[in-house]
C-alpha cells in the first residue's frame, strides 16, 4: 500500500483536502453565529483539532460498501464523506429538509442514511454496538465493506464500548473503531477516565484486534492509518482500533466554558497544534502550493459557504402537525385472523411449544431471520426454558447463536444488523430473565427512537423476547415485570400473551412486521395446562386487538399475562356464587392498546377492575384506569379498582411471594366489592 506524504500525494488530492479542511473549519467557526442570531445550532461541538483524522475517516469511507457511524463532533467526517455544506447546515439549524431527522434530532448529528452515513444517538458510544451489528450482516452476506464508528476517548469508559469491541473481537468482524482522543470528556481530563494515557492500550490483549496509533492532527498520518485499517479489516475480516491523538481547540460545546478548567498556557499550546494551519504551512514549505493558490481556494470556500448558508436559512422549518408521524411503522396485518381469534379444535399445545414452533415456522418462512441471546443455542438446550430448543440444529449457527452475557450488546448489535437490509428480522432473547434486562435499557431506548428520530427513514426490525413475571418462587431477580417501566417509551409495541395460541399469533405478527416489538412471555405459564390451547399452524394475532376471554355484564375485568388465568377463575367463582357476571378481557397488546374493545365493555358493565402482576403503583394499570376514567367517566358507576403487586420487590420465601403477588383471593375480594358497590 502506498504511504502518502507531502511529496508523493497528487496535487489535485491535496487541493481537495485543503478545500474540505478549510470549508469544514469555516462552518465550524460559523456555527456559533447561527445560535447568536437565534437561527438554531443550539448544540454545537466544535471539531477543530480533530481535522486530520476526520478528513481521513471521510476520505476512507467507501460509499456503497461501508457504513459510517459518526459521533456528534464528526462534522468534518461527514463533509469529507461527501455531504455538502448545505446539508451540514440544514442539520445545524434543524430544518425540515435536514437529512438526519427533519429537525427532530439535536443539531450536530450529521447523517445521510441513503449513503449509510448513519443517524446516531446523543448517548455517547451507543453507535459502536450498531457498527458491530452491521458488520455481522456484512460477514453473513459476504459483503465487502467495513463499518466505521468513531468515539471520543472518554467514551471508552462506557461499558458498552467494551462490549462492542469484545463482540467484534470474538466474532471477528470488519469494524474500525476510531478513538478521537482530545484528552477531555467535557471538562474531565483523561487521567480521570482510565489509567492508560493511550486508552486504546486498554484493549491490547483482545484477540483478532489490530490497534493502530496515529496523529489525528496530521493529515498524512491519519490518512495512512485509516487506509491501513480499512485494508486490514477487509483482508482479515477483523476489527481495528485507530487511536488518533487530537486536541480540542475549542470548548466541549457551546454550553461549556473551557477557560474554567484549562489555563492560558494549555489553550495556547493546543492552538499551536492546529492541524489546519500545520497542513497549510506544509503545503507552502514543500512548494506544493503557492500562497496565491491557497488564497484562491480559501476565497472559493468563502463563496461556497455563503451560498450554502443562504439556501439553508431559506429552507422550510419542520411542521409541528407531523409530530405524531413515525412513532411506529405500519404493522403486518393478518389476512385470515383479522381479530386474532379462531375456532379450531384439536390437540392442545402448551405455551412454550407454541412459541418454539412459531419461531421455527417463521425461520422457514423468512430466510433472513436471525436469533441470538444468552444460552439460547446449545445442541440439546434452548435457553433456561428451552424456548429455542432445536433452532440452531435446524437453521445453523450463522442464524441462531449464543451471545455473550452482555444484554446491551444483544440489543444494540441487533439494531445495527437491521441497518444492513430491511429484509432482515431479528429475534433476540434480551436477557435470561426480564429481571436482567435493565443493562440493555439504553439500547432499548435507541430502538424506540430510531423510527421517529430518523423521520421514518430507519426502523429496527426486531422482536425482543423476555421471560417475564413471577409465580415460580424466583425472588427479587427472577420475578420482575418490566412492562410498566418500558411502556413509558414511545416507539415499541408491547405484547404480553396469556395463552399458547395468542403467543403464537402475536409472535408471528411481530416477526412479519416492520419495527420493534417487545414480546413478554409469562414464564410461569410456559408449561401450564391452563395456558395450553389449540394453535392453528398459521395463526396470527394483529397488534392492538384485545380478546374477550369471558363475556359478562356486571363488571369488566381487564388483565393480561399471568393474571388472566387468576381472573378467569375468580369470574367463574363469582358467577357460581351468583354475585355477578364478569367480563374478562385479555388485552394481549399493551401498545397499541385496543381501547375500542375496552370502552364497549365499560359501556355495557359500568364497572371496571384492572388486574396485573406488576406493581399497582405506576404499573400499566394506572394508564388503563386513567384512560378509562378520562374518556369513559360518564359510563362508570363505581371507582375503578386496581389489583397488582405491592410496591415492593418480590420476596423469595413463599410467604413473601404470596403476600406480594396478586392471587385469586385478592382479586376475588376486590371484584366482589366492586360488584357490590
Amino acid at each position: 500500500m502506498k504511504t502518502l506524504d507531502i511529496y508523493n500525494t497528487d496535487k489535485d488530492i491535496l487541493q481537495k483536502w485543503y478545500h474540505l479542511l478549510t470549508l469544514g473549519r469555516a462552518i465550524d467557526e460559523k456555527a456559533p453565529m447561527h445560535q447568536r442570531q437565534s437561527l438554531g445550532w443550539s448544540f454545537h461541538a466544535p471539531y477543530a483539532g480533530h481535522d486530520g483524522i476526520q478528513l481521513a475517516i471521510g476520505q476512507t469511507f467507501v460509499r456503497g460498501q461501508d457504513f459510517l457511524f459518526p459521533y456528534y463532533r464528526d462534522m468534518l467526517t461527514a463533509l469529507s464523506a461527501g455531504m455538502t455544506a448545505e446539508e451540514i447546515i440544514l442539520n445545524g439549524i434543524s430544518k425540515a429538509t435536514d437529512l438526519t431527522s427533519g429537525g427532530r434530532h439535536m443539531s450536530n448529528h450529521f447523517s445521510k442514511i441513503e449513503w449509510h452515513i448513519e443517524n446516531i444517538s446523543s448517548a455517547v458510544g451507543t453507535q459502536a454496538m450498531h457498527a458491530v451489528g452491521v458488520a455481522r450482516a456484512m460477514a453473513y452476506y459476504n459483503h465487502t465493506g467495513v463499518a466505521i464508528t468513531s468515539i471520543g476517548e472518554a467514551t471508552v469508559s462506557e461499558g458498552y464500548v467494551y462490549e462492542a469491541i469484545n463482540g467484534a473481537s470474538t466474532e471477528k468482524l470488519p469494524v474500525i473503531f476510531v478513538i478521537q482522543d482530545n484528552g477531555y470528556g467535557i471538562s474531565v481530563p483523561k487521567k480521570d477516565q482510565t489509567a492508560n494515557r493511550k486508552v486504546a492500550e486498554n484493549f491490547s490483549g483482545f484477540k483478532n484486534l489490530k490497534i493502530i496509533y496515529c496523529n489525528g492532527k496530521d493529515v498524512f498520518d491519519s490518512m495512512n492509518a485509516m487506509a491501513e485499517a480499512r485494508a486490514h479489516a477487509i483482508e482479515t475480516g477483523s476489527p481495528v482500533i485507530v487511536h488518533a491523538n487530537c486536541v480540542r481547540i475549542g470548548s466541549h460545546s457551546n454550553s461549556d466554558n473551557q477557560s474554567l478548567y484549562r489555563d492560558e498556557y494549555e489553550l495556547s499550546y493546543v492552538k499551536a497544534a492546529d492541524p489546519l494551519l500545520k497542513f497549510r504551512r506544509m503545503l507552502l514549505r514543500y512548494n506544493r502550493f503557492t500562497e496565491e493558490e491557497l488564497l484562491a481556494i480559501e476565497a472559493e470556500v468563502k463563496k461556497e459557504l455563503s451560498i450554502a448558508n443562504r439556501n439553508a436559512i431559506m429552507a422550510p422549518d419542520p411542521d409541528p402537525s407531523t409530530v405524531l408521524d413515525f412513532v411506529l411503522p405500519e404493522p403486518y396485518l393478518p389476512a385470515k385472523y383479522r381479530d386474532g381469534t379462531h375456532n379450531e379444535a384439536g390437540e392442545k399445545t402448551n405455551l412454550v411449544t407454541a412459541i418454539n414452533e412459531t419461531l421455527k415456522s417463521e425461520f422457514r418462512h423468512n430466510p433472513d431471520t436471525f436469533l441470538w441471546g444468552q444460552d439460547v443455542a446449545n445442541r440439546d438446550k434452548g435457553g433456561v426454558f428451552n424456548v429455542t430448543k432445536g433452532l440452531q440444529k435446524e437453521f445453523g449457527s450463522k442464524r441462531v447463536f449464543n451471545a455473550p452475557i452482555a444484554e446491551d450488546f444483544i440489543v444494540g448489535s441487533a439494531n445495527g444488523m437491521c441497518r444492513f437490509d430491511p429484509k432482515i428480522h431479528i429475534v433476540i432473547e434480551g436477557a435470561e430473565f426480564a429481571d436482567y434486562f435493565w443493562p440493555a435499557v439504553e439500547q432499548y431506548v435507541e430502538c424506540t427512537h430510531e423510527y421517529w428520530r430518523s423521520n421514518g427513514q430507519f426502523t429496527p426490525n426486531i422482536t425482543l423476547r423476555l421471560a417475564s413475571g413471577g409465580y415460580i418462587g424466583g425472588g427479587l431477580y427472577h420475578s420482575q415485570n418490566v412492562e410498566g417501566a418500558l411502556s413509558t417509551l414511545p416507539g415499541a409495541r408491547i405484547v404480553y400473551p396469556s395463552f399458547a395460541d395468542d403467543a403464537a399469533g402475536l409472535l408471528r405478527t411481530a416477526m412479519r412486521s416492520k419495527g420493534f416489538t417487545l414480546f413478554l412471555e409469562p414464564k410461569a405459564l410456559y408449561n401450564a395446562v391452563e395456558a395450553a390451547t389449540v394453535v392453528p399452524d398459521d395463526f396470527e394475532v394483529p397488534f392492538g386487538k384485545a380478546r374477550i376471554r369471558r363475556t359478562g355484564d356486571d363488571a369488566t375485568l381487564i388483565t393480561y399475562g399471568n393474571t388472566t388465568h387468576l381472573c378467569l377463575k375468580v369470574a367463574e367463582r363469582l358467577a357460581k356464587e351468583n354475585i355477578g357476571n364478569i367480563e374478562v378481557i385479555d388485552i394481549r397488546s399493551l401498545i397499541p392498546l385496543d381501547k375500542q374493545t375496552l370502552f364497549e365493555s365499560v359501556k355495557k358493565t359500568g364497572k371496571v377492575i384492572v388486574v396485573h402482576e406488576d406493581k399497582v403503583f405506576s404499573g400499566f394499570g394506572a394508564e388503563l384506569a386513567a384512560t378509562i376514567g378520562t374518556e369513559m367517566f360518564r359510563y362508570l358507576d363505581a371507582p375503578i379498582q386496581r389489583v397488582g403487586s405491592t410496591f415492593t420487590p418480590v420476596g423469595f420465601h413463599p410467604v413473601f411471594e404470596q403476600a406480594i403477588l396478586p392471587n385469586e383471593e385478592r382479586i376475588y375480594k376486590a371484584a366482589k366489592e366492586l360488584l357490590e358497590y
Binding site: D5, G183, R197, K198, N215, V247, A272, A273, K278, R281
Partner: protein
C-alpha cells in the same frame, strides 16, 4: 554579524534569494555547531544555557520553524532541542520538517538531542520526542551524540530509551528543575568531547 542575521533576513526574501544566502551561510558555518530548536519559552531558556555552557565555541541558533534542509546539512555537529507534545509526539513544527529530514544525507554528522518532558504527569511517554527524532536522523546516517544515563529519573516508558540510556539529554523543569543546570553543564562537556 551579517551571517548571524541571515535567518531573520530570509523571512523577507524570495525563495531563490533565501537559498543563495543559506548556502553562503553554510559555507562559513562548516565545523561549527548548529542548534535547532522550536519556539517556546522553556526551550529558549534551555537553549540560552546550552549556548552559555559552550563558552567561546560558536553555536548557531536556528529556529526550526524557518529551518530548511540545507541548514541541517550545513553543520557537522548538530544539536536539536525538542519538547514532547501530548502523549508522545513531536511538536508541530518539528513534525512538519520530518519529511524534509528524511531526504537529507546526514552521514558523518553527529546529532545530539535534548528534550523537555514531565516525568510525573506523563510517565508513559517521558521525552518521547527525543527518541522519535533520534530514529529519524539515525536512518539518514547521523551518529547520535550526547546519550545520557536514565538514573535519577522516575517514569514508566519512553521512546527515548535505548539500553537503559536516553538517546539524548532529558530535562524535566517541572519536577527536577534543581538538576537542570548541572545536567546541561555535564552534557555540554560531554558534547565537547564527542563533537571533536
Amino acid at each position: 554579524m551579517l551571517l548571524h542575521n541571515v535567518q531573520e533576513d530570509c523571512n523577507n526574501l524570495q525563495q531563490h534569494e533565501v537559498t543563495y544566502f543559506l548556502r553562503l551561510k553554510n559555507y562559513y558555518s562548516m565545523k561549527k555547531i548548529g542548534l535547532f530548536y522550536g519556539a517556546g519559552i522553556a526551550t529558549a531558556a534551555i537553549v540560552a544555557k546550552i549556548q552559555e555552557a559552550f563558552g567561546d565555541t560558536q553555536v548557531d541558533r536556528i529556529p526550526v520553524e524557518t529551518a530548511r534542509g540545507v541548514d541541517f546539512e550545513a553543520y557537522d555537529n548538530l544539536i536539536m532541542g525538542v519538547s514532547t507534545w501530548f502523549d508522545g509526539e513531536l511538536p508541530a513544527h518539528w513534525d512538519e520538517i520530518v519529511p524534509e529530514l528524511k531526504t537529507l544525507n546526514l552521514h558523518k554528522k553527529k546529532v545530539a538531542i535534548f528534550g523537555l518532558g514531565d516525568q510525573q504527569n506523563y510517565p508513559d511517554n517521558f521525552v518521547d520526542a527525543i527518541g522519535i527524532l533520534a530514529r529519524v536522523v539515525e536512518v539518514q546516517g547521523a551518529e547520535l551524540a550526547g546519550q545520557t544515563s536514565s538514573e535519577s529519573y522516575h517514569f514508566q516508558q519512553s521512546q527515548a530509551i535505548r539500553d537503559n540510556n536516553f538517546l539524548g539529554l532529558a530535562l524535566d523543569v517541572d519536577n527536577q528543575s534543581d538538576k537542570t543546570d548541572e545536567r546541561i553543564r555535564n552534557w555540554v562537556e560531554q558534547l565537547k568531547r564527542e563533537f571533536l
